[in-house]
């Protein structure tokens, strides 16, 4: 992950999602929690395309982080009608 938000979010955000998944193993035993990530390149076109791909082909349940407001808002729109996908932007 590159460009202006990489130090503020980027790989560190992926690590933090993994830490949360590891902590959740204590109260969700036997549940497999997988963290996947992608670089949306701060693009409001690329970001929702990734979100749509994830919800359609990867059964993703929650989308976290999504820095860069235009990209985050586009992801919110992209998953709005998906009953099993929740957006969350910082």
């Amino acid at each position: 992950m590159n460009a202006g938000n990489a130090d503020a979010t980027g790989q560190g955000s992926v690590v933090d999602a993994q830490l949360a998944a590891e902590d959740a193993a204590a109260f969700l035993p036997g549940v497999k929690i997988e963290v996947i990530s992608a670089d949306h390149q701060n693009s409001p076109d690329i970001a929702p395309a990734i979100a749509r791909e994830w919800r359609t082909n990867k059964a993703v349940n929650v989308v976290a982080d999504v820095p860069f407001s235009s990209a985050g808002l586009a992801v919110s729109q992209a998953v709005r009608d998906a009953p099993r996908t929740m957006p969350r932007s910082t």
């Binding site: 130090d7 979010t9 933090d16 830490l19 998944a21 929650v62 982080d65 009953p83």
Partner: protein
């Protein structure tokens, strides 16, 4: 923002006893600026790695995987938010968005990354906010020892009240 802080330093604003505030400054901005340039800057954040024992414990786990870096506020927010979501999944036994969202609003948020918090009916997560000031080089004891705590605004006062937001979820 980084250029403005550099110019404020260059023109001696802080040395001339003016106070400079850049509310959404992250530690990832202060690190490249350096304390010599950024010292005296005021900023407001809900997270700083050296705030308390819990934030230090969380940040040590992060640093072990990030070549010693300390987490920024958005990164800490990811850990807190994902964990809170997973607690709601546990509570409801569901991954459907509607019941999980309702549970996220019902269950108090509490974790090492962000401390105590709550998710309001409009979907906004709230927590205490802190006013920090960037330390001078002589006050700092280590590379990431960057802020001193000036004051804390309780969560209930730190965010725009729901009534003023016009959110369709709370009508």
């Amino acid at each position: 923002m980084i250029n403005l802080v550099k110019q404020a330093h260059e023109f001696g604003l802080v040395r001339g006893s003016q106070r400079v505030a850049a509310p959404l400054t992250l530690i990832a901005d202060v690190q490249p600026l350096g304390l010599q340039t950024a010292q005296g800057l005021y900023l407001a954040l809900p997270f700083y790695w050296d705030l308390n024992d819990r934030s230090r414990a969380f940040s040590a786990r992060f640093a072990a995987r990030m070549r010693g870096r300390k987490p920024t506020m958005p990164q800490a927010g990811v850990c807190s938010g994902v964990l809170h979501y997973l607690k709601a999944v546990k509570d409801t036994g569901s991954v459907d968005a509607a019941p999980v969202m309702a549970a996220m609003q019902r269950i108090p948020a509490d974790d090492d990354a962000m401390g105590a918090g709550a998710v309001r009916k409009d979907g906004r997560a709230i927590h205490d906010f802190h006013l920090f000031q960037v330390k001078s080089p002589s006050e700092s004891k280590s590379l990431w020892d960057n802020y001193k705590l000036i004051s804390t605004v309780p969560a209930a006062e730190a965010f725009r009240p729901m009534a003023g937001g016009g959110c369709p979820l709370v009508r």
